[in-house]
Symmetry: C2
Subunit: 224 residues, 2 copies
């Protein structure tokens, strides 16, 4: 006989959903999982799931990401809480949405043999999404673009060491517009958020690029 949990007034279910971004081959991508069960069986959805009784919201988001995609060590930030009474046809489900950023280099998705496989999708060619997830994705992207303008958020898409042109390419991808590279280099250097490692990246068939890394140890610095 299954255990039940009883309350003397109605309680909604609470989930976290995560919009995980990365930049791969110069395109903004995000991670979706294919739903195995109804509702929206077979549709693509954001990774996420129910909050456990003794679990912090951030912890829940990280756990769900790890369980559904095998990915850990992401930059994670709360986005917004969606609580439309009818957003899930089964029962009242309030979702605390997060967005997360991860560098794509050396990133392995969990073996994707089963039906609940996680896959990267190009941001500008997304499939139809389950629930109100399209709305969540839209808001996450707005926040990503807005916050990139005044913080080092975008650094999270790159490995520890990177060239300034790689960083610029990330900004161009996020903001969806070209940036003047002299102005970009001046800006990024004047803010003091990168330090020259002294190393260069060789082996390309052109002039080697200096390697930089973020000056701040971890997290995201706010500029201006």
């Amino acid at each position: 006989m299954p255990q039940t949990y009883n309350y003397n007034f109605p309680h909604p279910a609470v989930t976290t959903d995560i919009v995980l971004f990365t930049v791969r081959d110069g395109a903004l991508n995000l991670l979706l999982v294919r739903r195995a069960r109804a509702p929206f069986a077979g549709a693509w959805a954001l990774p996420g799931g129910f909050v456990r009784p003794q679990e912090d919201l951030d912890t829940c988001a990280l756990r769900e990401l790890r369980e559904e995609t095998g990915i850990r060590d992401v930059y994670l930030e709360q986005l917004y809480t969606f609580g439309d009474p009818d957003r899930d046809p089964r029962e009242r489900v309030i979702t605390v949405a997060y967005y997360a950023l991860v560098a794509s280099d050396g990133l392995e998705l969990r073996a994707s043999t089963d039906a609940e496989a996680a896959q990267w999708h190009a941001f500008d060619a997304l499939p139809k999404l389950a629930f109100d997830h399209a709305r969540i994705v839209r808001l996450a992207h707005e926040r990503l673009a807005a916050k990139s303008r005044y913080s080092t958020l975008a650094f999270q898409f790159l490995p520890r060491d990177f060239t300034l042109n790689e960083l610029q390419a990330v900004y161009e991808t996020i903001l969806q517009k070209p940036i003047d590279n002299r102005n970009f280099r001046k800006w990024i250097r004047d803010t003091g958020v990168v330090s020259d490692t002294g190393e260069v990246r060789r082996g390309m068939r052109h002039r080697p690029a200096r390697l930089y890394r973020a000056s701040h140890t971890d997290g995201v610095a706010i500029l201006r």
Copy 2:
């Protein structure tokens, strides 16, 4: 026999809490209610309460404000969701925090005879607050100050018609620092967010001040 609500996995309770700001006599104030029941009986707390099954989160916040304080027609915006498993000693309670702004002129609090009276408190002389409400208040104030710099949020503290010096005083209150008034007037006029009503405020024992009102019909405009 009381009705119970049964689920086959644990569900947290969900509340909304509202940090309602106003500016009264040149000071930033916020509305607190005194708790009648345990936990924290007798302590001051943010107005708020449980989300009903068929109720949107925003609607819940507005309803709780109305019920506990009699106040309606506020500017309301979601702030952050707090879900520390131990933030409420009774059971797991996740709260979706909001902040709200209201003009203080002609504002009547609900009759405050009972123990659950709502009262305005000066922001820089707040009593100890119940739960994690002090943390919520701190975040709300940071957001208020930050967003005032690039939006017309602060207009919400004033009635429809106002003088530029009244508006400046509101900004000085929020930002906690003096502003040069020639620069302020230039800024606010160049952004085009106010229009001259042609009216003036007379009866003061000094030169009458021109009255302005927000150019945008309602809501908050983003500048820059």
